[in-house]
């Protein structure tokens, strides 16, 4: 996928509709189907349809996780909006910053020719080039002001510090489970981490559980919590019902790699914080079917584990 071109297009447009985005992906991202199969095929947009990750969904999630573009925000009228160009400083490397958000050819040219900055562009699969800016913290701050960049210090830690926990009731939305026939119902098994067949009656009568209602291309997710029904995103719902599960989060101190089962991808903002530690999307390890996040400091892992309500296995 030529996501560099797509990001330039998105930056030039600034915001737009979902159909415009899909059209741009269709035009600019030529090769489809060469990405890794994503076991977590559910989107993060509650109540919306999703499928087996077509190319535009891959592009959307990649851009969203990297903090370049925001989709389906209630704060804007359009379906997507570009993030202003931002230097995300890394806690593990104070003299390094990731370039996130909008970029234009002229802007990149100016960045390349700014004195005192070392700009390293690294191509990576399934994402736009990772652009790392290296300089002293003073030079970074000065250059950011000259270039009109926003700066987020310790970006990963900042996000993790401000994100609510998955069990925070504030992020749930009370709703009713549909009673009309025609839905195919699945229940998420927290022990086996798979979807199993269920019924609408089971969902309505369950005290606790996470259910998926499928009709055609439509998928709805309902959390039953203390005999009440809530609409939550699929990632949040899974972690709510999984409680503390040993081995779900695994952290290798030496390589600073955090791994989670591909079926249990963290919610968007938590995952964004983990991705911003390295500036790279998680890699998929086929033998273990786990996603691996690189260069995640221990403090960030601890926070992520707390937010997800999980124990950290080392």
């Amino acid at each position: 996928m030529r996501l560099n071109h797509l990001l330039l297009w998105l930056s030039a447009k600034r915001q737009g509709s979902w159909s415009q985005f899909r059209g741009a992906v269709d035009e600019l991202c030529e090769d489809q189907g060469n990405g890794a199969v994503d076991a977590d095929d559910e989107g993060t947009r509650p109540g919306k349809t999703s499928s087996d990750l077509p190319v535009y969904q891959q592009a959307r999630f990649a851009l969203q996780r990297l903090g370049h573009v925001e989709f389906f925000s209630s704060e804007i009228a359009r379906d997507w909006g570009i993030v202003p160009p931002t230097l995300a400083l890394r806690s593990s490397h104070p003299s390094e910053a990731l370039l996130c958000g909008a970029r234009s050819p002229e802007f990149l040219d100016r960045l390349d020719h700014t004195d005192g900055l070392e700009v390293v562009k690294t191509p990576a699969l399934g994402m736009p080039d990772r652009i790392v800016v290296r300089a002293s913290s003073e030079t970074l701050a000065l250059s950011a002001a000259q270039l009109g960049l926003m700066v987020q210090h310790d970006a990963s830690m900042a996000i993790l510090s401000a994100v609510p926990r998955v069990r925070d009731p504030a992020i749930r939305c009370r709703t009713e489970i549909p009673e009309n026939p025609g839905w195919t119902v699945h229940r998420f098994s927290s022990s086996r981490q798979v979807w199993s067949d269920s019924t609408g009656m089971d969902a309505r009568n369950a005290r606790t559980g996470f259910f998926r209602f499928v009709m055609g291309y439509q998928r709805l997710y309902f959390l039953r919590w203390r005999s009440r029904s809530y609409r939550v995103t699929v990632q949040v719902g899974k972690y709510v019902v999984m409680r503390r599960t040993r081995g779900l989060l695994a952290y290798d101190r030496t390589s600073q790699t955090l791994s989670v089962p591909a079926m249990c991808r963290p919610p968007l903002l938590i995952e964004r914080a983990l991705v911003l530690c390295s500036g790279l999307l998680p890699s998929f390890d086929p033998p273990t079917a786990r996603l691996e996040y690189a260069d995640v400091p221990r403090e960030e892992v601890r926070l992520a584990a707390q937010l997800l309500g999980q124990e950290l296995e080392r």
Binding site: H5, L8, W9, S11, A12, K13, R14, W18, S19, Q20, R22, G23, V25, D26, E27, C29, E30, Q32, G33, N34, T49, V55, G67, H68, E70, S73, E75, I76, G81, V83, P84, P85, T86, A88, C100, S104, P105, E106, F107, M150, Q152, H153, A155, A158, I159, S161, A162, V163, P164, R165, D168, I171, Y217, L269, R272, E299, R302, L303, Q306, L307
Partner: protein, 817 residues
């Protein structure tokens, strides 16, 4: 005999002169003013019943006031029409055995031939080269023809015309009185005795393609061809047979005038351009079958690719519908053999004899042309005004085919329905097989549909209908589909025919595989490969990939679906790649790659902005400055494309994408946008403040002025989380909340502000009103000092700064005692 010729010729000449003298008055004689004739504005589109849709569309546009320009254009057209220098006129004269000296007497008529430079302006109001049925009388004829065919009632179009009053003028033009004459002209049986009647019937048969009619209405809004009938009616009795023949033969010659279409914007989407051009291609073949050219005014010639490519604005839908949806309908058009067309430079070419025309029709001559006079045209001038016209719901939308290759060479074939302007992003359309859900893919397309019985549907055709909007989608069934790469979509999407040098995919039924491969061999294709059902082809179909034609092949004059596999030797300019922001606008730094398809020997040098272009490394053409900001024009052998290079948006501002509240206090509500995190504040000055992010051990922020104290509250539910604060001042120091009770081995004094932020001595004499924070400010500093907390930074400047603050705090403490 010679005397007879002289008498006939002189009578003909005098009749022509009389016509030329007062055409308007002649119309008035028949009881119709110019307005009534429909000369004013677009209401003049008096079309045969097959074009009722076009009439409706045209009538929907606001009528213009009586413009002398329109009339002038019509009159000019009439003058040209009557020019004895016209090839068809000369053909008649040749039939009559006209002596040479007779031609020499026609200088006066030659003089009325307009200068080619005025073609463009004239064609805006130029009469469409419609057959005589296109005038008001034709409406009656159409009804008459329908009734003669046993349909029992006038065509709906005629009724529409009557209700709209469009036909009022035509009837008053004496149509009723002349019906017997026109019934002679319009052969309802479509016999070839009257080539005009035959061609009209061919168009009638094609009437399902409403795109044709609609385009026709745009191109030839002024379809007043009354002079034909007037001329026929007013001709001397002895000359009437000749005059009728003259009229019937001469009308098709208007096609050469119609080639100079209205100056069209370049703002049309590529697909539309391709399809409109393709439509012109297909019908282009009709006029070159060796017979008299059928009047296809809406469909251009290969010579006029520049015009077609520039695209009649607003006809893209129709063109696409024609190309994609009704390609199988192409056999309805009298398929012929491509030939060279009239000279593109607009100069009147010597009239070829019938034998010459037949001989010419068997060989291709590279189209000649001139580069555009204006190198650059401002976008505002070129922008069409008709694009915003809402499409008619009675016009079926096309369904394209799309094929995407996946890993392992597996292919997926889907239906790609067009989304017309104004249609919702989600629809449920009905079909024979049940409801089909459509969701928007782009602004102009719905997302792919994957029918289970796609193989059968491709043979039988598809019709979907939305009951709410009465919008239909159609894909006519056929045995061969051509899909091309390099369109605005990923993968391969339906296209009208093979294009030389371009990569294609061909879908054909298994039964048709042999003839298809033969046709591909003739087109110079090599190394194509098959994909069967096991690789994703629809049931009963084969997918032929890597089809790159290298040779132009004459079209089969018979009705043959394989004509789509016979590439025309036309030159095609394609703008591919780059980053396209709008229809014809590319992002600065990422301009399109300019490709010219077609046999190299068939096209002249490529000009970009008037400069001779050279091939670039990407196999495209380029010149110095072709990627700079502004409008650009590409020209090659009468084909022209334009594009713009523009700057994108560069004003990006912060906006909150997500917002979460972590607790009751407002300071615990945070906003997120990408990597940015900001505490929510109700202060209008919040945007100008700096977000401070500190460890929970140093959650107290101090400013430079005494009394500037802010406590960033740590999260109670999260151990180790940092404290984000938005203090109403510029913080300098971050201290522990209780310096005297903290662990000095762990806690430090943090400098979070600038090292140059000297303390403010303003309150040294008189303390501020907020004494609580004032006292807290110097107490915290003194407590941290008493505790012996060390500074995190070892820089001397930081130590000096801290010493200054300690000194001020001590003074304030002493003053307060």
């Amino acid at each position: 005999m010679r005397t007879l010729f002289h008498s006939i010729a002189s009578a003909l000449r005098s009749w022509l002169n009389s016509l030329r003298g007062e055409p308007g008055a002649r119309r008035c004689q028949s009881g119709v003013s110019r307005d009534q004739c429909g000369v004013s504005g677009t209401a003049a589109a008096i079309l045969p019943s097959a074009y009722g849709q076009a009439i409706e569309n045209t009538a929907a546009t606001p009528p213009e006031t009586d413009t002398p320009t329109d009339c002038d254009g019509i009159e000019e057209g009439q003058e040209r029409f009557r020019s004895v220098n016209d090839p068809n006129c000369q053909a008649i004269i040749e039939r009559l055995g006209q002596p040479d000296n007779m031609r020499s007497q026609d200088h006066g008529i030659d003089a009325v031939i307009p200068h080619p430079q005025s073609e463009t302006s004239r064609t805006n109001t130029m009469t469409s080269p419609l057959p005589p049925h296109s005038n008001g009388d034709t409406v009656d004829d159409g009804a008459l023809t329908s009734s003669e065919k046993g349909e029992g009632k006038p065509s709906g179009t005629a009724a529409e015309l009557a209700t709209r009053g469009v036909s009022r003028g035509t009837r008053s033009a004496g149509g009723t009185e002349r019906e017997p004459e026109h019934s002679d002209l319009a052969d309802p049986t479509g016999t070839a005795s009257n080539p005009l009647g035959r061609s009209v019937n061919a168009l009638d048969a094609e009437a399902d393609s409403k795109s044709v009619s609609d385009t026709r209405s745009e191109i030839g809004a002024e379809t007043v061809v009354h002079y034909d009938d007037d001329r026929t009616e007013d001709a001397p009795e002895a000359l009437k047979p000749f005059a009728e023949e003259f009229a019937s033969i001469d009308r098709p010659s208007e096609k050469s005038e119609s080639q100079a279409r209205p100056a069209i914007s370049h703002e049309v989407a590529d697909s539309e351009l391709e399809d409109s051009a393709a439509a012109s291609e297909i019908v282009d073949t009709a006029g070159h079958s060796g017979n008299l050219r059928a009047p296809q005014p809406i469909l251009g010639d290969a010579d006029n690719d520049d015009v077609a490519n520039n695209g009649a604005s607003g006809k893209g839908d129709q063109g696409e519908e024609f190309a994609a949806g009704n390609l199988s309908g192409a056999p309805d058009i009298d398929a012929g053999v491509w030939t060279a067309k009239s000279e593109p430079n607009g100069s009147p070419s010597p009239p070829p004899s019938r034998q010459q025309r037949e001989r010419r029709s068997q060989q291709y001559r590279a189209p000649a042309g001139r580069p555009p006079l204006r190198q650059r045209q401002s976008r505002s001038q070129a922008r069409p005004t008709t694009r915003s016209r809402p499409p008619s719901r009675e016009m079926p939308a096309p369904i394209n085919l799309r094929l995407i290759f996946q890993r392992g060479g597996y292919c997926v074939v889907s239906l790609l329905p067009r989304r017309l302007h104004g249609l919702p992003d989600k629809l449920v359309v009905s079909s024979d097989a049940g409801d089909v859900k459509l969701g928007a893919l782009q602004d102009e397309w719905y997302q792919d549909i994957f029918p289970t019985n796609l193989g059968q549907l491709l043979c039988t055709g598809i019709v979907w209908k939305d009951c709410d909007t009465c919008q239909e989608w159609r894909l006519s069934g056929r045995e061969v589909f051509v899909l091309s790469h390099g369109t605005t979509h990923m993968g391969f999407v339906s296209c009208p025919r093979l294009v030389l040098g371009r990569d294609h995919v061909v879908l054909c039924t298994t039964e048709k595989l042999g003839p298809v491969e033969d046709a591909l061999r003739r087109a110079g294709c090599v190394d194509w490969s098959h994909l069967g059902e096991d690789m994703g082809a629809p049931s009963g179909w084969r997918v032929l990939q890597r089809v790159v034609p290298q040779k132009a092949v004459p079209l089969n004059s018979d009705v043959d679906i394989l004509n789509v596999l016979r590439p025309l030797p036309r030159v095609k300019i394609a703008l591919e790649g780059g980053i396209r922001l709008a229809y014809n606008a590319w992002l600065l730094g990422y301009p399109p790659t300019i490709h010219v398809y077609g046999l190299p020997e068939h096209h002249q040098s490529v000009l970009i902005d008037g400069q001779k272009a050279v091939r670039s490394e990407s196999d495209g053409y380029e010149v110095s400055g072709s990627g700079t900001e502004g409008d650009h024009q590409v020209w090659c052998s009468s084909t022209e494309r334009s594009y713009s290079v523009v700057r994108g948006e560069t004003c990006w501002t912060y906006w909150p994408a997500y917002s979460f509240a972590l607790g009751r206090p407002e300071s615990h509500r945070f906003e997120f946008c990408g990597p940015l995190v900001r505490p929510v504040s109700t202060s209008i000055l919040a945007d100008q403040r700096r977000v401070v992010q500190v460890a929970p051990s140093n959650c107290v922020l101090l400013g430079a002025c005494p009394g500037e104290v802010f406590i960033a509250r740590p999260r109670a539910d999260l151990r180790g989380a940092q404290c984000l604060g938005l203090p109403p001042f510029e913080p300098v120091w971050a201290l522990p909340r209780q310096p005297l009770h903290c662990d000095k081995r762990v806690n430090r004094i943090l400098l979070v502000g600038e090292p140059t932020a000297r303390p403010c001595y303003a309150y040294l004499e008189s303390p501020p009103s907020d004494r609580r924070n004032f006292e807290l400010w110097y107490r915290l500093i003194l407590d941290a000092s008493r505790k012996g907390l060390s500074l995190e930074s070892a820089l001397p400047a930081t130590h000096n700064l801290w010493r200054d603050y300690k000194r001020l705090a001590r003074k304030l403490w002493r003053n307060s005692r």
